[in-house]
Structure formats: structure tokens, C-alpha cells
Symmetry: C2
Subunit: 268 residues, 2 copies
Amino acid sequence: MQHIPACGSLRNLLLTISYDGKEFHGWQIQQNAMTVQEAFQTALSKIIGDDFDVKGCSRTDSGVHANMYCISLKTEHPIKPERLKAALNRWLPLSIAVLDCKEVAPDFHARYSCTSKEYIYKIWNSEVRNPFLDGYALHYRYKIDENLLDKAAQAYVGRHDFTSFCTLDNREKGDMTRNVKAFSVTREGDLVTMKVEADGFLYNMVRIMVGTLLRIQQGKIAPDEIPSIIEKKNRKYSGPTAQACGLYLNRVNYENDNSSQKGVNTDV
Amino acid sequence: MQHIPACGSLRNLLLTISYDGKEFHGWQIQQNAMTVQEAFQTALSKIIGDDFDVKGCSRTDSGVHANMYCISLKTEHPIKPERLKAALNRWLPLSIAVLDCKEVAPDFHARYSCTSKEYIYKIWNSEVRNPFLDGYALHYRYKIDENLLDKAAQAYVGRHDFTSFCTLDNREKGDMTRNVKAFSVTREGDLVTMKVEADGFLYNMVRIMVGTLLRIQQGKIAPDEIPSIIEKKNRKYSGPTAQACGLYLNRVNYENDNSSQKGVNTDV
């Protein structure tokens, strides 16, 4: 992806959105399936025509949600940011909302300028399912010891080669090292939330981290085994990829450009 | 509705359920529209056949949700309560969950034995909609003063004739007096929640109470005007009926039979 040089009236806008991913096949446009990017660009073209270039802050999988997701938009159209936000919120489906829209420096890029991202993973931890969380949290029937898992998960923190926590396909090439800044497992009533921040994530990395913690809960992986799983650099030693429905991109951080960014709070 | 006398092996069961009402046309069976009662009875008949009599604790409107809803079930089938709960949770759609099932006295009736009910009404109070609350909260763009409305709403509390807060149709006959035990308006971030407990509710009563408070917010009804609206006993002086989507039956109380009842918490 190349940065289009700023010249003449070319503008660069940063849009912060939130979306319910249940009915979408992820962010990135693909044939024969509705994606967030396609819905977004369809609405955008009704407002400013087809002269634009849109970059999302990350690929997200089918069924994954976003409390906060960032998009950079290059266009020569002179529409004011506040008007674009309002117009998009009229044209977009109800499952996508534009929270913020503002001008940014010409070299800003939603994906490459990002310094870190935070994901949360929601688990409804009760014998009986929650009818309001179908598609919005993993339903896990057996009692989770959140303190045990929180302690075990601290082994994820730090700069590691996360090959063991990556679905290998053609997407991931080169350096598999990522810097995990924090990982927490907390409980509020029957809802267990895992939260992880890192400078970047490999394909399926959060979902495999969660799946591995659930294997620890089940006694199939020892609580102190995560360091040796990391060291093996082999996907077969980690746990299964947890379902997409519990995963939310929660926060996207940019250097010097973070103060006004705020996602929606789905903890309500 | 008459109480079927307990005789021989006739049993009386109390089932506590929760449901996402977005796709249902309320509780009560009707032609040409899917209701919670129909979905429930369809699942039930797969487990115990057609020999049963089901009574719900209240009618609920199309699109209204229930964190807790109670059903009494008369049947001669010998199935154990725990097994019935598990089997129903396998057969029911994911939008309905059985939280509890237990034997109760022969004269218990989900509707007539009820001593009080509590409803909550959720309002997403932000300029931008929340993509996760489409169908689960009213979206209200202009800033709500929850303290102003909480204070005004205290005039609802007490034993009053609520004719002004009732949609008149053939449903409501006789005494229009209800005893409102408590009413509160609170905020958590952008979510405003109204909560009301009463010994009973007239048709659309909560939604008209909410609509009237929103008219007070808009300055179209004075904050101290509720007592005189009540006194007029005329629907034309109260506010509009607020949308169904924000309304949740939250708790159903029975005398001496309340300790184990607990709904799901949708505040997550």
C-alpha cells in the first residue's frame, strides 16, 4: 500500500467507527460476501462519489466486532468532517456508526501509523446461555477461575515470537515477533472479559491465546506452560482458535493523535 | 382463566425464562406472527407431548424484552424439573433461555400469584447511535438531565388511577388504579435507565410514563405537571408511547417464593 502524496486539494481524513460484526464477513472487501468495508464505501460513494481511497486499521475476521475501528480516507472532495460524519450515519446500516471524523496529516495511515491496538474477548460463563449475547460472547458453561487464567496469561506479556499463536496461511510473512503490553482476565457477574494490548497481532493471535487459556481451565494445558508453548514456535502446542463472536477490537492507538479517539462502550 | 385443581398426578411447575424480544411479536400466541409463547410451547411439546397448560406472567408487546419472565405449567408428565430445563434449553431458539424450573404449590399461577413486577427502560443518550443497541434501547440524541427526570418521576410513585397512562382498548376494564412502588432514572456513561416497580401495569403504562418524561426533557411538559396529568384521567395529556425496543421486564415477584428467582443481567 503506498501513501498518496498530498498535493493540491487532496485531503486525509481519519474516521473512527464502531460496528456490530455479526452479519459481516469482516472488514476487507471480498467477492460474494458483505463486509464492513463494502457497506462503508457504498455509503461513502453516495455522499462524495467514487473519488476516494480508504484504508482500514486492520483486517478483522467474519463475526468479529469493533467498539472502535479506524479508517483513513484520501479524497479531493471538500466536504466538512462534521457533515461527512452526519451524512454517513444517515446512509450506513444501523450496525455501523461513525463516532468521529477529522482532518489528519497527509502521511497518516490508519494501519501503518498505528502504535498499538487493544482487543477484548467476552465469555458468558454460566450454565445457561444469555439470550442477549448470542453472537456477542462465547458461551462457556463450566466455571472459569479468572484469577488462575489472569496469572497464567501474564506469560504472554513481553516481546515474543508468537508463531505458536498464529494460524499459518499466506497472510503472515517475515517477523513473527510482537510486543504484548498487557493481558488481563476479569469477571463481572457471569461475564468474563479478557483484554490484550499489543503493538500488533498475528492472524488469529487473540483467539488462539484465549483458546489456550480455556485449555488451561480444562486442565489440558498446565498453567505455567505458556512460556514453553511460545518457545516451541509451533501452532500444534497451543489451544484451539476460540470462536470469533466473543472478539471486539476495543481501541486503536496512534502517536500524538489519540486524545479525541473513543470507542463505544459495549459493557452496557 | 381458572385454576385446574390439583388431583392425581397433575403437577404445577414454575419456569423462569429470559428472552430477546426483537424478533418476537410479544408473549401471547396469535395468528400469523411468531410469539414467545408459541416458540416455548413448540419446544415443550417435543419434550412432554401436548398435555399441558401454560400461563405467562404478563402480556408483553412486540419487540419488548425480558431479563426475567415467569411461566406456570400444569402437566401430568413426570419429567424432573432439572431435566425439563435442560431439554427446553436444547430445543428453544437461542433467543429464549430457561433459567430455572421448579415444582410449586397447586394453586400457584404465574400471573395471578404475582405481587409486583419491575420493568426497566434503556435509552442510549448520545448524538451517535450505538450499533450494538439497535432494537435494545431507544436512541435519544439530545442530552437527558437524569436528575431532573428522576425528581419529576417521583410523582408517579403511590396508588393512583393511571387512566392517563394507558392506551385504551378492550384490554383494560374496571379499576385503573395501580400502586407504583418505586421509579428511578439513572445514568451510566451514555446509557440512561428508567426503572419502575408496581403491583401491576396497565396496557403501555411504562412506555407512556417514559414518553411523558421525555416530553418534560423537551420542555413541552413542566417537570411538576405529572400530578395534574394523573388527576385528569385522560390519555391526551400525557406524552407519546415510547418505542417498545427499550423496554425489559426485569423482575417478577411472588409472595414467599422469590428467593431463588433471578433474571439475566443485560447490563453487560
